[in-house]
């Protein structure tokens, strides 16, 4: 026997391989199907928010709309502009799709229902999901188009910045759990309460950063239509565009399931998960779907930030706050007073109110009446 | 010379001139219906009333003779009110026929109603009902309701043609124009009354309901029906020649033209027109295939070179430019006679119609062309009207290169055949029976698209035969014409034609069908 193989803790049995393979196929298909439904849901929800109906013609309630869209994407002319860097142009949509698909491998859907039970799960998630930016950057670079490149540059800067916030805000959770293992994080929440309550600031920062990570409103600068046509996928059409599109929705699913895992107790809900793994999956999916709804809801409520605002929020507010949260959490863990983690958000809230009151007092009101402009000289 | 003051302008006049003549000569427009310079003064329409100082009532400008020191106001309040009253009276019984009336758009009643008329009628009674669509012969339709009884048409038949087919009948608002002769007009100038009619009472059967005048494109040209060369205005729309009306020229046709000339445009609209050049497809008679222009030009040059034949047989309706280009093309190929063919009619009269039907017969003769007496082989054949060059002549000519207008006139033994534009589709000079050189002009709205000018084609072929030759445009051809003493003696005018249209790729027709 190969000595290297023999040195492994325990070589997986044939059944384990089969089970993992089945799970991979299942999860991959569920993911893709969920992505398709999400596209439909986005359109229906946005329509309902705007007093419209949205697509309701294909299948019951328009559920098959995504199938029709897919048909359209497949049969559309696959334009490869002559000015692009061809191999990179073709590769980029795949590069952006694959990380989104792969990240889901370590998410525990229910106790034991997990494709890969990595002991460095959270690190894996952060590292793989940050690869998604390569697809966008390469695609925009290969497009050889100004708008696409601007979108790509914005995207890479934005994603790198918010990844920092994302990672550091997750540290609070990991400090409390004492493990990088995502299964342990969920188990910890199941036994002693969701991190939503124990790490409120981290939750807020992580959620916001995940919006930025997935290029969703109010942080969709990379594809800001009014400024950049369509951002990094300006030059893409047909299935290549569909892949980018799908990658964006899959990234949403991954982000939602990550937030569920880290802060909303994963598969746990008042002990209902003890009914069996199916109940765990159902609970997990319910939470994820709710978060996805919030994604859509936020998108159709908030306008887009300006790019400088986006960056200053990240580096001047979220980053220091995330660092402070790590310090406070460490203090809370060391002193054994978990409630200490609430000090920061409460203090922030107080400071915010105070600043607003002060600002209101200093509001100079409307500017003084402007003097009439001098009459235009009529000399000829 | 005595002077008269009209609208503040001091004008000289010859004794005997009427106020309207003096005013018109000075460019002062006085409204009129019944007055026509070519007819006697009737003074019955009363629209030309002007104010003459020291005269208590307005006077009709067409009848009152100018007198020394007379002061006339054509636009005073009195004159305008007088016209306004006349218009109101004329419109009491005039039907609201404008939507179906051919005259609409060039109707004096419309123009003056617009200027002097009332928006509504004050007459409480229903308009008179008179016969409508009465045939006056086969060519003219009379509508008594529209008639304003100016008697221009009656005076025309009495004074110009002296045939007196028309007269006024009945009285008051039952007055109508009636035909004194039963059935047909005796005069071949009857359709002039359609032009004379200031309203739409007399309409031409030929042009009836063909087109509203505001859609039409008008070109000043010369009739080629006979050698008289009456000056005409060609009206056309959407590729179709629709009508021809006489244009005043005191030296040629005064204000008139004959009916035969007026309706002699039909061959222009013929569906059998030749539209594309043809080249030989085989040795058999009539064995042709269609070719594009450049290919046909090359084929023509090859055929001429191979035949070495010279000589021209031309329709006497061809322009001077075409004749001289054909002469030089044939000379570049070989030696031969220059001959022309034309129809000789029997309907010539002392007024306008002449027996020689070739519109440019005098020009051809001046260029050294002689009348063709029998068939003889030629290098170049030009046929605009099939009846001008009889079949025996054109087939017997066995031409190398033929320019024909109608596909039915193609000589079966020709080597290359080019479509020939009709006189309404090309620019050129014609010499009339009196030796007067007059231009025909290309109408923008007549004929098929992208026909090339025959002069340009002939010059291209000549250049292909003789690469050292200088290409000539209209000016170059005119210089060649002036080099012929007999032509120069005619006094070639310096006519400037509109630039030839740039050849376009068959543009989509602007009209939907």
């Amino acid at each position: 026997m190969n000595p290297l193989l023999a040195s492994l803790p325990s070589s997986p049995g044939f059944l384990d391989v089969l089970k993992s393979l089945g799970l991979v196929l299942l999860v991959a298909h569920v993911m893709l199907g969920l992505g398709a439904i999400l596209v439909w849901a986005e359109r229906r929800v946005s329509a309902l928010i705007q007093d419209r109906l949205g697509p309701n013609r294909c299948g019951p309630a328009g559920l098959l709309q995504s199938i029709a869209d897919l048909g359209k994407f497949i049969f559309k002319e696959d334009v490869v502009p002559h000015h692009v860097l061809k191999w990179m142009y073709i590769l980029a949509p795949t590069i952006s799709l694959v990380p989104a698909m792969v990240t889901i491998a370590v998410i525990p859907f229910a106790p034991g229902v997990q494709i890969a039970d990595l002991n460095v799960g959270i690190l894996y998630v952060l590292s793989i999901s940050s690869l998604g930016v390569y697809g966008i950057t390469l695609g925009s670079w290969a497009s050889n188009s100004k708008y696409a490149l601007l979108g790509g540059v914005r995207s890479s800067a934005q994603m790198i910045s918010y990844e920092v916030v994302m990672g550091i805000s997750a540290v609070g959770v990991l400090l409390t759990t004492g493990s990088l293992h995502l299964g342990d994080v969920v188990a910890e929440q199941a036994s002693s309460g969701w991190f939503l309550w124990r790490q409120p600031l981290a939750f807020f920062l992580f959620l916001t950063a995940s919006y930025a990570e997935t290029n969703r409103l109010p942080f969709d600068l990379p594809e800001a239509e009014s400024e950049l046509v369509a951002g990094y996928h300006t030059e893409y059409s047909s299935m290549k565009f569909a892949l980018f599109f799908l990658a964006e929705y899959l990234a949403m699913i991954v982000a939602s399931s990550l937030v569920t895992t880290l802060f909303l107790g994963g598969w746990s809900l008042f002990g209902l998960e003890r009914l069996g793994w199916l109940a765990g999956v159902a609970i997990f999916m319910a939470k994820t779907l709710f978060l996805l709804f919030v994604f859509i809801w936020i998108r159709w409520t908030l306008p887009r930030f300006r790019y400088d605002q986006l960056m200053s929020i990240c580096w001047k507010w979220f980053f220091p706050l995330a660092l402070a949260n790590v310090l406070v959490t460490a203090g809370a863990e060391a002193s054994g007073v978990p409630a200490l983690t609430w000090v920061l958000p409460v203090a922030l809230l107080g400071m915010g109110v105070g600043a607003a009151v002060l600002a209101q007092r200093r509001d100079p009101g409307p500017p003084p009446e402007l003097a009439p402009l001098p009459a235009p000289s009529s000399s000829r | 010379m005595p002077t008269i003051t009209i609208d503040g302008r001091k004008l000289e006049f010859k004794p005997g001139q009427t106020i309207i003549q003096v005013a018109q000569a000075a460019g002062i427009e006085v409204p009129h219906y019944c007055y026509h310079p070519g007819l006697s003064v009737a003074g019955n329409c009363r629209i030309c009333m002007v104010e003459v100082e020291k005269n208590p009532r307005p006077q009709i400008a067409c009848y009152v003779q100018a007198a020394d020191g007379m002061v006339v106001h054509t636009q005073s309040a009195l004159a305008r009110e007088a016209r306004s009253g006349t218009m109101e009276m004329l419109l009491v019984n005039h039907p609201l026929d404008c939507p179906i009336c051919d005259q609409a758009g060039e109707c004096k009643l419309q123009d003056y109603a617009f200027e002097f008329g009332h928006p509504t009628t004050r007459s409480p009674v229903e308009k008179t009902h008179l016969p409508k669509a009465v045939p006056f012969g086969a060519k003219i339709v009379y509508d008594a309701e529209r008639c304003i009884k100016c008697t221009r048409c009656v005076r025309f038949t009495e004074e110009v043609t002296r045939t007196a087919e028309l007269s006024m009948g009945q009285r008051g608002d039952h007055e109508v124009v009636i035909m004194t002769s039963k059935g047909e007009f005796a005069t071949p100038y009857a359709m002039n009354i359609v032009d004379l009619c200031p309203v739409g009472a007399l309409t031409s059967r030929d042009f009836r309901f063909e087109s509203r005048v505001w859609f039409m494109d008008f070109t000043e040209s010369v009739c080629t029906g006979c050698a008289r060369g009456c000056n005409v205005t060609v009206g056309a729309r959407g590729g179709r020649f629709l009508r021809m009306t006489p244009r005043e020229n005191q030296d040629v046709n005064r204000w008139w033209m004959c009916d035969a000339g007026r309706t002699g445009y039909k061959f222009v609209n013929a569906p059998t027109r030749l539209l594309r050049p043809r080249v030989r497809a085989g040795a058999g008679a009539g064995d042709f295939r269609e070719a594009d222009w450049d290919e046909a030009v090359a084929a023509a040059a090859d055929a001429l070179r191979a035949s070495g034949r010279g000589g021209v047989l031309a329709d006497a309706g061809a322009t001077l430019e075409e004749l001289v280009a054909a002469r030089d093309l044939a000379a570049a190929s070989g030696k031969g006679d220059l001959r022309y063919a034309s129809r000789v009619g029997t309907d010539g009269d002392a007024f306008l119609v002449v027996n020689e039907k070739g519109a440019n017969q005098r020009g051809a003769e001046a260029l050294g062309f002689a009348r063709a007496t029998g068939p003889a082989p030629v290098a170049v054949l030009l046929v605009e009207r099939g009846d001008a060059v009889p079949k025996a002549l054109r087939d017997g000519a066995d031409p190398v290169v033929a320019f024909v207008t109608d596909a039915g006139d193609v000589p079966p033994t020709a080597q290359v055949v080019f479509p020939l534009p009709t006189w309404a589709e090309k620019d050129g000079l014609l010499v009339n029976v009196d030796g007067r050189v007059q231009p025909v002009r290309r109408s923008r709205a007549v004929g098929p698209r992208d026909l090339r000018a025959p002069t340009a084609v002939m010059e291209e072929v000549r250049l292909a035969l003789d690469p050292t030759a200088e290409p000539r445009d209209h000016a170059g051809l005119h210089a060649a014409l002036r080099a012929v003493p007999a032509v120069a003696a005619l006094g070639l005018p310096d006519v400037v034609f509109a630039p030839a249209p740039t050849p376009t790729v068959a543009a989509p027709r602007s009209r939907t069908r």
Binding site: V45, A47, L48, I49, Q50, D51, R52, L53, W297, I298, W300, T301, L302, G352, V353, A356, V357, A359, Q360, D363, G365, P366, P367, E369, L370, A371, P372, L373, P374, A375, P376 | P95, L96, D97, C98, P99, I100, A104, E126, K127, K132, A133, R208, F209, E210, S211, R212, W214, F215, S510, R511, T512, R513
Partner: protein
């Protein structure tokens, strides 16, 4: 003349607005409110083929020719609509009618190319005979371009009958 400047008094921002988050939440409240309201059936979308719009009288649909209440075609082919038509969608060949008719002239061919028509209504405005009207017809479709060139029969079929109290040609 001096340019006049109008100063618009701006409202002071309130404390709630300055705090940002209340504004965000109230925005989300509004959107979710609309979401549930639309879900309960209050919507602006019309389910077109099943639900139909009540076409107003001043609607400018496909131009059409009308007959009077005696069934006589009113058009006399005066070509004014053809003249006034900005996109040149109208093509008319006038024809002479039988002597028995009240009017001597009518259209031999009357085509309106609906691919060109811009529904401006100038034809209706120009018509001296009140023969052409903008109908309420808006469902214009065809499988070939030629099907969208409405000929005389189609135009009379769309236009139908429009009572004419004057009947000018019968007692003109």
């Amino acid at each position: 003349m001096a340019a006049t400047v109008k100063t618009i008094a701006r409202r002071k921002t309130t404390l709630k607005e300055r705090l940002l988050f209340p504004a965000i939440f109230s925005g989300m409240k509004i959107t979710i409110g609309h979401f549930f309201r639309t879900l309960r059936g209050k919507r602006v979308t019309m389910q077109y083929p099943e639900e139909r719009w009540e076409v107003k009288d001043n609607y400018r649909g496909a131009p059409a020719l009308v007959k009077d209440d005696e069934g006589r075609p009113k058009c006399v082919a005066c070509s004014l609509c053809e003249y006034v038509c900005p996109p040149k969608a109208i093509y008319i060949v006038p024809g002479e009618l039988e002597p028995g008719n009240r009017v001597e002239r009518g259209p031999a061919v009357f085509n309106i190319n609906m691919l060109r028509c811009i529904f401006c209504g100038l034809c209706e405005e120009a018509c001296p005979e009140e023969a052409i009207f903008m109908s309420k017809e808006f469902e214009l479709w065809g499988e070939k371009r030629s099907e969208l060139v409405h000929d005389k029969e189609t135009l009379y079929a769309i236009g139908g009958v429009r009572p004419d109290p004057i009947k000018k040609w019968s007692h003109k």
